[in-house]
Symmetry: C2
């Protein structure tokens, strides 16, 4: 592998939501990469970007000017539709996060990528992504043990959307908060009952409509199946000013902890954690590093679908092997 | 890459100190690996292992019965002498931790490995090793930022040896303790003055000889250049019972923290941490996972020296790619 890039890696961004914006911003931090343009399903004039914005239909004729497309559509419907189609002509990276569907998505992208001699790196980001990588390393090194994933403190987009759909709710944000007592108990070697609902609590900040029934809103939130039932849930009513000031960001993060044993009784705690001021910007940051890797795999003719599991760490860095050994080993 | 191993990977352990014992113990946790024997420079009868123990000179005739040698000698002199020699006939893994000499060691092993069509994975363990891996990933994902490494709380073998050489010291253990205030400041985005000496303090537990001059011992410790000068250093005198009860273990650990920015002002904190009941056992655990990777690289004909930077995470796990995607992504 030659680590040194001769000319900047030319990137196209597909979809300009939070993640797309994050990739645009993030690329400015990587001198070995260059943004060719943003591609959108909307009218380019309606997309508030300072970069060149093109229609999706322009992509085909720009094929030779782009090394890697970073797919920034939503995981619910955009990625399943767009990724297999774009994979025909491009090396791609996505942050697809529908965990249950990842194996099938891998197979689809793998087939198209192998047929067309390109590379598709799927499910980058932090979870899936860096969290997955750490779950793997932790388990491989400490086969005897248990892995725990905690999310937060951070904003859950899905849960925030859900509370905003309740009658009488004008604005709302939901924070997922990990159970710190449980985390301490794990690290201290205590026996723990880790369940989906015991491991996190849910804290909601709601701006109610003027005449709304606040008790009814609380009731609607706490009884919402799949989202809140079973969780310790707090609801705080605040005014619009406070909401705009304190609850419009997208912070997130979390921890992967493996408590393992290196012999019958000797404990080893492996922990990976992130505290992110901006979830989409960090997800973008990871996707950008994997875009660099995708381009190198492509240059080596190592085609097909890949995940964070399949990519040697050195491919993520612009530094040469010798530089990495000298500076970081 | 086929992830599934047909027959157990056959391991030889070279050198039976703390690390060698750790590999012997650790291998019992890996059903896809098998210990062929321990190889020592001492008289095999003097080596307190329940596994088959052989002389180093027996290695050559056992070549075909061993897939990977895990080299467990000391970094100061054993590895530089033994590794290039053994690399001629074997795929090897080591935990060489002389950071300044790693680039040269890589080049030596690389040359021998390429000449003899085998694989040499160097500098595994936790630092170098998993810490290095995280320094690389953190920097590649967050190019704008700073990386900080903290060690401890844990026993430093080198510093403990140094205090034990002081006149009047019967027994002694030195703990390296990270500066938690500095760590908090880093995570909170404050400006910090991180230097080698401000980032850790050193706490010594000493059993003095009966008539020893304790003040002189303290003085000798605190004025020891390279080891203690400049550090906040505490010396506690204890009796032999307490020493045997509380200070003969080899716990260690530490953290790699990168404080990065995903745009002009938005912070992202990336943290990797280990809390190890046994430093050598965990170092062994990492070496074992990389021994699995080394064997697979060998099977693929991907010869030469490798570091943790060059090895895709999937190679560390006994699971297939499909299993990993389904269970851990
Ligand atoms: N792996 C991880 O760790 C991780 C972490 C966070 C998020 N993610 C994934 O990243 C995906 C994208 O997240 P996101 O926050 O960027 O989603 P988003 O803001 O909803 O954007 C998704 C798409 O919607 C369209 N869009 C955006 N703003 C629009 C507007 N004002 N009007 C009409 N259409 C608009 C854009 O496509 P067009 O430009 O084509 O219209 C955009 O690509 C999520 O679905 C999630 O699955 C993964
Ligand atoms: N990368 C990392 O994160 C990391 C972490 C910790 C340690 N390490 C490295 O691991 C290396 C090995 O550490 P270690 O704690 O295993 O060192 P150790 O206990 O001093 O053993 C080193 C060698 O000394 C010989 N030996 C051991 N006990 C002996 C005894 N009672 N009498 C005579 N010889 C004896 C053994 O070789 P024979 O059997 O051939 O005599 C053994 O291989 C260290 O030098 C360090 O560099 C790396």
């Amino acid at each position: 592998m030659t680590n040194r890039i001769e000319h900047p890696i030319r990137i196209g961004i597909v979809g300009y939501g939070n993640l797309g914006k994050g990739v645009e911003t993030g690329l400015t931090l990587h001198p070995d990469m260059e943004l060719i343009g943003v591609f959108t399903r909307r009218n380019p004039e309606d997309v508030p970007s300072k970069s060149p914005v093109y229609r999706m239909t322009d992509l085909e004729q720009m094929k030779d000017r782009i090394d890697v497309l970073v797919l920034c559509g939503g995981s619910a419907t955009d990625i399943p539709e767009q990724a297999p189609e774009l994979q025909k002509d491009f090396t791609t990276v996505n942050a697809y996060d529908n965990h249950a569907e990842i194996p099938a998505h891998f197979d689809i992208i793998n087939e198209v990528a192998l047929q067309n001699n390109n590379v598709g790196v799927i499910a980058t980001g932090w979870d899936p992504g860096l969290f997955s990588l750490n779950r793997l390393v932790a388990e491989a090194v400490l086969p005897k043990g248990d892995t725990y994933t905690f999310w937060g403190s951070g904003v859950s987009q899905g849960h925030s959307d859900a509370i905003r759909r309740i009658e009488g709710v004008k604005l709302g944000t939901q924070y997922t908060i990990p159970n710190e007592t449980l985390i301490e108990d794990i690290k201290e070697g205590k026996e723990v009952a880790y369940t989906k609902t015991s491991s996190h609590k849910r804290v909601c900040y709601v701006v109610a409509e003027t005449d709304a029934d606040q008790a009814a809103i609380v009731e609607s939130i706490k009884t919402m199946k799949d989202y809140f039932v079973g969780y310790e849930t707090e609801v705080h009513f605040i005014d619009e000013d406070e909401y705009e000031k304190n609850h419009t960001g997208m912070p997130h993060g979390g921890r992967v902890i493996r408590r393992g044993y290196t012999d019958e009784e000797t404990m080893a705690v492996y922990e990976f954690g992130l505290e992110l001021g901006s979830n989409p910007q960090f997800t973008a940051a990871v996707s950008i590093a994997y875009a660099r890797a995708a381009h190198r795999l492509y240059q080596e003719g190592n085609y097909g679908a890949k995940t964070v599991f399949d990519i040697a760490p050195a491919y993520l860095s612009p530094k040469t092997g010798a530089e990495l050994r000298k500076e970081l080993l």
